[in-house]
Symmetry: C2
Subunit: 188 residues, 2 copies
């Protein structure tokens, strides 16, 4: 049923059948077409998503400008970090490419964290990995120019450029789409 999910997480923890049952009971599989908005600024984020297929992004609005903060794709876990501090989200979540997601209510997840140490173990490791990723993004903002950041992204995630509009990649890199366009031009 959720084979892809369990085989992915088996890299981190080994779940016995019993715990797989428990987790499975809390999962719903849902498909959304692109452009679906899963969360709006100001709402409380209730869900944790595991992405089986597709691409999503989190984004913020500032002065009519739309800024992509993160992309999520196959095998990523998505929880708005506002959930960690129990505050309404300042960000939005959008489906960029038709997606099938495993949805877990985050309160259910917290309950499993308490009742089933293996689940909490998985949660800790996954967030450590996400932490590592965004920390490196932060560092690259401090350390690299726009062009360098583009080159790093191009090398590390070339498929992203095939799958999402350049506008979103530009704001993700912290630059304007015109600048991205010029950087790309200067590199052919």
């Amino acid at each position: 049923m959720y084979d892809k999910f369990f085989s992915f997480v088996s890299q981190v923890v080994s779940f016995d059948e019993k715990i797989k049952q428990v987790i499975s009971k809390n999962i719903t599989r849902v498909s959304y077409p692109k452009k679906t908005i899963l969360l709006k600024e100001g709402e409380f984020h209730q869900n944790l998503y595991f992405i089986e297929k597709g691409i999503l992004r989190t984004f913020l609005i500032k002065d009519n400008e739309d800024i992509t903060s993160l992309f999520f794709m196959e095998n990523d876990f998505l929880v708005s970090s506002f959930r960690f501090v129990n505050q309404p989200s300042f960000e939005n979540i959008e489906v960029l490419e038709d997606a099938t997601l495993l949805v877990l209510n985050y309160d259910d997840v917290l309950k499993m964290y308490k009742d089933h140490p293996e689940v909490n173990y998985l949660g800790r490791v996954m967030i450590e990995l996400n932490y590592y990723r965004i920390y490196h993004r932060l560092v690259s903002m401090l350390k690299f120019s726009a062009r360098e950041r583009y080159e790093v992204l191009m090398k590390s995630q070339p498929e992203l450029f095939q799958r999402v509009p350049l506008t979103h990649i530009a704001s993700y890199l912290g630059i304007k789409k015109e600048s991205l366009s010029r950087i790309r031009k200067s590199l052919v």
Copy 2:
């Protein structure tokens, strides 16, 4: 013995005496004078620090330039994120203000994570909070100008300006010290 530590973590989990014993056995309290380098680029980070007193920073070197990525002060937990992926660190750790730290070997921590779910629970929550913090820094880099980032920091962490040199604050904000100086001048 480690009252300050246990009273701080009691906001998150309630540890019984037995587990406090286990943890205490793995703790060493150490004091370092300012300017001590606790980790150098290229080394593997072995420790997790809980800061009882003092200030530390993580920083990177790029072209003879020194870039502060994070500050840590009282009640913060510090682990280099490279530890999460078992890679040598690209960053350095320096003591900025005479510090007393509780030191835990990270392998011991991992062992406690496996053997004692409560410890893993604490670990997960602390990293969630750290994730939230750096995510917001990342977002502020994408969204705000240098001046705005300065104002936000000034409002949220005014004590930082009393305790660490402006050079480090400048690189932490992603700007040069000259620019920080001019921003400060223009705001009096």
